[in-house]
């Protein structure tokens, strides 16, 4: 902490990590029941309104996107797949020429596109199709009309939310340079618009600012970055983006993640300390939100208190979620599976986990299912491939993907977040058939 005021201790939350390095972690390898990074396109294409995502991949990639998207929710999505065919592989067609042809057709169809992401996939990476060179070439061709960038969302490189990390990291070099050393706050990670607006109001009340967001709602309005930029991570899966921002002079403000009343307060406080906000002003600005959050959480506490919970790995949100559920709602995490554990970014979170929780990084889905059946948790958080089969075995489940698609951060979403976990239990109780 390099703020003007000294780090302070506050009720119930240690802002310094304590002993996290000692947390034992089981590392597993085996079958992984997780999405690849392409899945992030489902929310990113709605978040960045003038961007288009073109996956360069196989029919499998296209099928994944429409299956994960719940099949055609949107009139015309701002994503598509350039499906590699036999003739591209056999060298009958130059894959680069084919890609240029597809991109040209796409840009003619969608003149509203200002930024195009070429998104690498497993097949494009295995055949070593150089998308960064393609992006440069196409950027030159469509100068001033469309900026073409690239990143990898392939399953061999990225797990689920790491696709967003790769996308945001690709945006960082595009951000304009902030001249001088004027201090600004950058909030990193795609958030629902309603959540962004709430944070804007909170930071204004704290006198922290100017506040900017990455990704911005329009690709043509990327925030500036420079030596004075301090950034807060709104999501726990942004290791690459954080590195890219640091390379441009920005500095990370370590904090827990803004889930629940406690997490949101600590997250805001980390920025407030950097800005030297007085304790009085902090208390004043956050008190109404904290009270609302506590009141909303109280509605769900009776349902969730004392209930055991088991996380299959999915979005990397598992550790902050387990912290929130155990500390604010009295749930008992049995196993917290996560596809990847970023110890540094999660340092504050790990310190707050109950000692009894078992941490598992990676996955061997069959062994994990064995452990889950053995433990018979009151609630299992898992992906869509596992949820109904586990329900059929009598376990109560919560689909993890909903946690990525819903506004869950901040004070005014704390109750909604708890509600997502309470609903399956309430429902099981209600049904008499």
């Amino acid at each position: 902490m390099n703020g003007a005021s000294a780090p302070q201790q506050h009720e119930g939350m240690r802002t310094e990590p304590a002993g996290c390095a000692d947390v034992p972690i089981l590392r597993e390898r085996g079958q992984r029941e997780v999405f690849c990074g392409l899945t992030g396109i489902i929310w990113l294409h709605r978040k960045i309104q003038d961007a288009f995502f073109l996956v360069v991949g196989s029919r499998t990639c296209a099928h994944l996107l429409q299956s994960a998207a719940g099949v055609m929710i949107f009139a015309e999505p701002r994503f598509a797949t350039a499906i590699i065919e036999e003739r591209d592989l056999a060298g009958l067609a130059d894959a680069n020429e084919e890609l240029d042809r597809v991109v040209t057709r796409l840009i003619e169809r969608r003149p509203d596109i200002r930024m195009l992401f070429l998104v690498g996939s497993c097949p494009s990476e295995v055949i070593k199709l150089d998308l960064s060179r393609a992006a440069q070439r196409l950027s030159q061709r469509f100068t001033s009309r469309v900026r073409v960038l690239n990143y990898s969302g392939s399953g061999i490189e990225t797990t689920f939310t790491e696709g967003e990390d790769a996308c945001l990291a690709a945006l960082v070099p595009e951000m304009p340079a902030e001249p001088g050393t004027a201090r600004s706050l950058l909030v990193v990670g795609a958030l629902a618009e309603v959540v962004e607006d709430q944070f804007i109001r909170l930071f204004a009340a704290l006198g922290v600012g100017p506040v900017r967001f990455l990704p911005s709602r329009r690709a043509s309005e990327l925030p500036a970055v420079g030596q004075g930029t301090r950034f807060l991570l709104a999501q726990p899966f942004l290791a690459g983006t954080a590195r890219a921002l640091e390379a441009r002079g920005a500095r990370h403000i370590p904090a827990p993640f803004p889930l629940g009343e406690e997490g949101t307060t600590a997250w805001l406080r980390a920025a407030a300390e950097v800005w030297g906000v007085s304790e009085e002003r902090f208390a004043q600005a956050t008190a109404p939100g904290r009270e609302r959050a506590r009141a909303a959480l109280a509605n769900h506490r009776a349902t969730l208190d004392g209930k055991s919970i088991f996380f299959f790995p999915d979005s990397q949100l598992e550790v902050p979620l387990a912290r929130f559920l155990s500390r604010e709602l009295g749930m008992k995490p049995i196993e917290i599976g996560t596809p990847y554990l970023h110890r540094q970014h999660l340092a504050h979170e790990l310190a707050l986990l109950p000692a009894a929780a078992k941490l598992v990084e990676g996955q061997h889905v069959d062994r994990q299912l064995d452990r889950c059946r053995e433990a018979r948790p009151d609630m299992t958080v898992c992906g869509l491939g596992l949820a109904n089969p586990l329900e059929a075995e009598g376990l109560t489940t919560k689909w993890s993907i909903e946690l990525v698609f819903s506004p869950i951060q901040g004070y005014d979403q704390a109750g909604d977040l708890a509600g997502l976990f309470a609903r399956p239990l309430v429902r099981r109780e209600k049904l008499k058939v």
Partner: protein, 510 residues
């Protein structure tokens, strides 16, 4: 490279999964990168299956590519055998694993597993889901069918026996079609030996040879296997897909011939309601409704016949994404006097529907979406499917009950006869605004105005004619516009006036 927004079919290994998941005692070990496991959710979420598909995925990552992915595959196959104890194992590769050429078939052989292992070669950059399903089913049938033999004629004292081939997991109404057709065959005095792949074990496949002939419910999936069985065991197979009243009757006649039985009674035993419902006077308003049909080839062809012959619609467009059955679709389209559309490009299908301006779309979930956008009523007749295509109730497409279900399903989205008249007569009633839905469907008007693609017609519209056109109810306005423009073009009329509009109306009146 092909630019795809949405796809009608998944990759071929998803077709193989549909076979493995439909069967019992089969496990599929699939060499695939992390992320391909999304396909599990098709079965557990869309079809609400209570069990995970019997598939083990190697889910390799970049760090494995530098090492030994072949060893990873062998370990996964060994573990899958030990854990799931299947009767038989399918092994294969998804699109990415195909590129790294580890040869799952060869690797599995070296494991020396004590069960039959059937290797699958499903070229992911050439083929698609239905082809993958057909190939997988064929490979399994071939592996378990036993030695070739010539068919002895049936002992007349024994009941005729058949197999039912084609129903899979994630199929459009396959569960209920099987129940309906099994009942129909039993009513004809025919025994069903094996239904496959749905519910069959590899051991059951060994009993396929006990049947006198095969019933192919879904040619897209079972025709390759049935053709093999005809060659290998001398079992003939049915060519008619029993969807619709006429097709069900023809199917029964075909089955009776193959079974060596007399011609059966095909009145449906009192349970068949479609013919009377179609004749009852309130169905008059269905006459000549313009329908656009798109789906897999079998369902599309069957739908066209029902639309034309059993409901009195006019088929204005017929198409399929099943290129393998392009010839059949072209022949059917010619019969109904429309142009065939053979394409798996969603945008092309959308353009065609917008240009044809049908009054009803019969399609897949994709066309349902297009129709919603264009404000045209729609019913789903074919895969690709969504969760709502697996209804809790019994809702077959095949047989006589299937025909009843189809009558209800297709007529439901349409405006009822009298309502249509009232809308026509009282255009200026403030509640009859454009986009108003049939009142029995309850929901409000479409927020977005009907986005009809306006082709640059040769004739232009005078203002007062355009205004008059707007008085015509929206659901027939597209047709009126097209007809008037055609009328004007044929007569070399440059500007369409109110007179032209009514001249055209008189000319085309039905």
């Amino acid at each position: 490279m092909q630019l795809a927004v949405w796809t009608y079919e998944g990759p071929p290994h998803v077709g193989a999964m549909r076979i493995a998941t439909a069967m019992q005692g089969v496990h599929y070990v699939l060499h695939a990168p992390q992320g391909d496991t999304y396909a599990d959710l098709l079965f557990t979420m869309i079809e609400r299956r209570e069990k995970r598909p019997p598939v083990t995925w190697t889910t390799f990552q970049a760090r494995d590519l530098g090492g030994d992915t072949a060893e990873l595959f062998m370990e996964a196959a060994r573990d899958a055998f030990a854990r799931f104890q299947p009767e038989a194992m399918l092994v294969g590769a998804s699109c990415t694993a195909e590129l790294i050429q580890d040869d799952p078939g060869g690797l599995a052989t070296t494991l020396g597993l004590p069960i039959p292992v059937v290797p699958l070669e499903l070229p992911a950059y050439q083929r698609k889901e239905n082809w993958g399903a057909a190939e997988t089913f064929y490979r399994l049938v071939r592996a378990f069918a036993g030695p070739a033999e010539a068919r002895a004629p049936r002992d007349p004292a024994r009941k005729p026996r058949c197999n039912i081939l084609g129903p899979t997991a994630l199929g459009f109404r396959h569960r209920d079609d099987v129940a309906e057709i099994t009942k129909l065959l039993h009513s004809m005095g025919i025994e069903v030996v094996v239904t496959a792949p749905m519910g069959a074990t590899p051991t059951d496949l060994k009993r396929l040879r006990e049947a006198d002939f095969n019933v192919v419910l879904y040619p897209e999936i079972a025709q390759v296997a049935a053709t093999f069985l005809q060659r290998h065991l001398g079992q003939p197979f049915t060519r008619i897909v029993p969807i619709g009243v006429g097709a069900t009757r023809d199917f029964m006649a075909e089955v009776a011939t193959l079974a060596g039985l007399g011609q059966p009674a095909t009145d449906g035993g009192g349970a068949l309601r479609l013919p009377w419902y179609a004749r009852s006077v309130d169905s008059n308003y269905l006459t000549g409704k313009r329908v656009f049909i798109f789906g897999d080839a079998s369902h599309a062809i069957a739908a066209a016949r029902i639309a034309q012959e059993e409901l009195g619609f006019a088929v204005v467009g017929l198409g399929t994404y099943s290129r393998e059955f392009g010839r059949e679709i072209r022949a059917a389209a010619e019969k109904y006097g429309c142009e065939a559309l053979i394409s798996d490009d969603y945008l092309e299908v959308e353009e065609r529907i917008a240009a044809l301006q049908p009054e009803l779309v019969l399609g897949t979930q994709m066309e349902r979406h297009i129709a919603k956008k264009l404000g045209v009523p729609c019913a789903v007749i074919s895969a690709p499917v969504h969760v709502q295509d697996f209804p809790a109730r019994y809702a077959p497409q095949m047989g006589f009950e299937g025909a009843n279900v189809i009558f209800d399903t297709w007529v439901h989205p349409l405006m009822m006869g009298l309502e249509e008249h009232l809308l026509g007569m009282f255009r200026e009633d403030f509640e009859f605004r454009d986009g108003v839905a049939p009142s029995h469907l309850g929901h409000g008007p479409q927020p977005e105005p009907q986005a009809v693609v306006q082709a640059a017609g040769p004739a232009s519209w005078a203002n007062e004619a355009e205004a008059e056109l707007r008085k015509i109810p929206f659901f027939v306005r597209g047709k009126a516009r097209r007809n008037t423009e055609r009328f004007a073009e044929e007569r070399g009329i440059a500007v369409i006036t109110i007179e032209t509009l009514y001249d055209a109306k008189a000319h085309f009146s039905r």
